[in-house]
Symmetry: C2
Subunit: 316 residues, 2 copies
């Protein structure tokens, strides 16, 4: 285990889970919380997990990064819709060698975060975690939890794996979290989008769980056609994802329990949807390369309509 | 006024309205009814209309075409989803010179009906009518009501206007229903689809009225892009609709009162949606000409999913 200290920015079902796993393994972890702050400060965190339940009766809880110590690794577990907060949250936490691990869905958050923290310390991460929150400070880890991490370099160029990344990998692995290292962050982001774009979008637009989408020949075909567009999008960025990856994603999804996607959960809770990160930015990257993706464009427009109405109705 | 006798097959908000107008003008009309049969047999029809309310305390009501007299003109006011009934309904009503007026939305119903009645007597019609049913035998005529009619000839070739069509036009016009005659039925069908495809589809998929769709920049753009695909579809059938027609449809829709489309009404009542007539058949005609319409294809897939679930949930 390293001597790294960890700050978890956004300790929800994702950040809270990984932070708890790291603390349980013996690492020093500091949690930034919002809605759960008072509860967690008093009662700690409980993880109900397929790998074994555990409780941390005391955690370092904060509701303000100015009160947190500077840390060696900052794990960002916020939704991309909250990234406007990072310019305020991050500077107080940075030491000279602090590394920032941006564990988010979608594309093109890294260039924005790099403006705040600098490129040289930024690592992008993709989490494969199925979890949800049962109540304040009480997280249910349902499945998987592995992460893929790659260093960010300007315009998502290839970037060599550093010793710091190997240290972080080791910290996670002794915590029971498998980590895959990559020199090609952009490829991993596009690969995750092959699943995220069709299922997140259609679950909201059609008010459907994954098993319903996979139970109708028309929506199966639609999922395949959307995945083909995502592959075209990746190709427009010189990233090749083989066609066989589509069938792999379909087979994987058929095996899932009836599953509510993260975007659908956000929609039901009337939270802003991660439309720009998951669809808008990939569309724009492809468009800059001269590639039109009509079905993804239509998903984007439908979601923007639904998201706007969803938030308006909640506010009014 | 002619001596034509009229049979109305499907006397709902559309057939019931036109039949009542014809009878009020003095023509002999026979109504085939289903759910309203007993009520209308006893009480007649009431039309609440922007052009003046009226009541027909007695109408010729039937629930079986075998009991109806053969007529000169058969007006089909059923939804296209019920066209499987026509092979049973129509033969008992046909005289040598009977004309069949198919007053339906969408494309490609004529070739099917021609198999039953023969091509030479078949006229296609497109109705611009806003109406709904208030209760049994009680129809509310909200707006417009004009119709466009054109003779059907094999493969939707151009077809000359006949004297019989002029007679029917005259019957309708003295009843207060404006009629436009055309030699190009297919062009008129495609023109109606420019409105019907985006608004009917999106009203169901997004659970939205026309004013909501026209109140969001993303859905306005989406409507325009779908309309452009409909124009491409028409072009694939050698029918030119000018680009300016799109703006005309947008302006017209902005002026409408918040409007529930016919497909949305069907969806809410858990009736089968006219997906094949309105989207499936136009898609297939374009595909046969080698033209792909990706956004219309996606609307089709989304609607098929929603329609199947809607009917299943109702049955189970």
């Amino acid at each position: 285990m390293s001597n790294n200290t960890y700050a978890i920015i956004g300790s929800g079902t994702l950040g809270g889970f990984y932070g708890a796993k790291l603390q349980k393994a013996g690492l020093e972890v500091h949690f930034l919380l919002h809605s759960d702050y008072h509860h967690v400060l008093q009662n700690g965190l409980i993880i109900k997990s397929k790998d074994g339940d555990f409780k941390l009766s005391q955690v370092n809880a904060y509701n303000n990064t100015n009160e947190m110590p500077k840390c060696d690794v900052i794990l960002i577990g916020l939704k991309t819709t909250q990234n406007n907060l990072l310019a305020k949250f991050l500077p107080p936490l940075l030491k000279e060698n602090t590394v920032v691990l941006l564990l988010q869905n979608g594309l093109s958050a890294e260039p924005e975060v790099a403006k705040i923290v600098g490129e040289q310390r930024l690592i992008g991460g993709i989490s494969h975690l199925a979890s949800n929150k049962l109540s304040f400070g009480y997280i249910h880890h349902i499945d998987d939890g592995s992460i893929r991490i790659g260093r960010y370099a300007r315009n998502y160029q290839f970037a060599k794996i550093t010793n710091k990344m190997r240290e972080i990998t080791h910290d996670f692995e002794i915590s029971g979290v498998p980590v895959y290292l990559t020199e090609d962050l952009l490829l991993e982001r596009w690969k995750k989008l092959v699943w995220n774009i069709p299922y997140n979008s259609l679950s909201v637009i059609l008010d459907a769980r994954t098993n319903e989408i996979m139970g109708n020949a028309n929506t199966i075909n639609l999922v395949v056609e959307i995945m083909q567009e995502v592959l075209e999008g990746a190709k427009s960025c010189q990233r090749q994802i083989p066609d066989t990856y589509i069938q792999k994603m379909l087979d994987h999804t058929k095996k899932l329990q009836p599953y509510l996607t993260s975007m659908k959960i956000d929609y039901e809770r009337r939270r802003p949807l991660e439309i720009e990160g998951i669809i808008g930015n990939p569309l724009r990257m492809a468009r800059e390369a001269g590639i039109k993706l009509p079905k993804m464009g239509m998903l984007y427009q439908q979601l923007k309509f639904l998201d706007t109405r969803n938030i308006q109705n909640f506010s009014s």
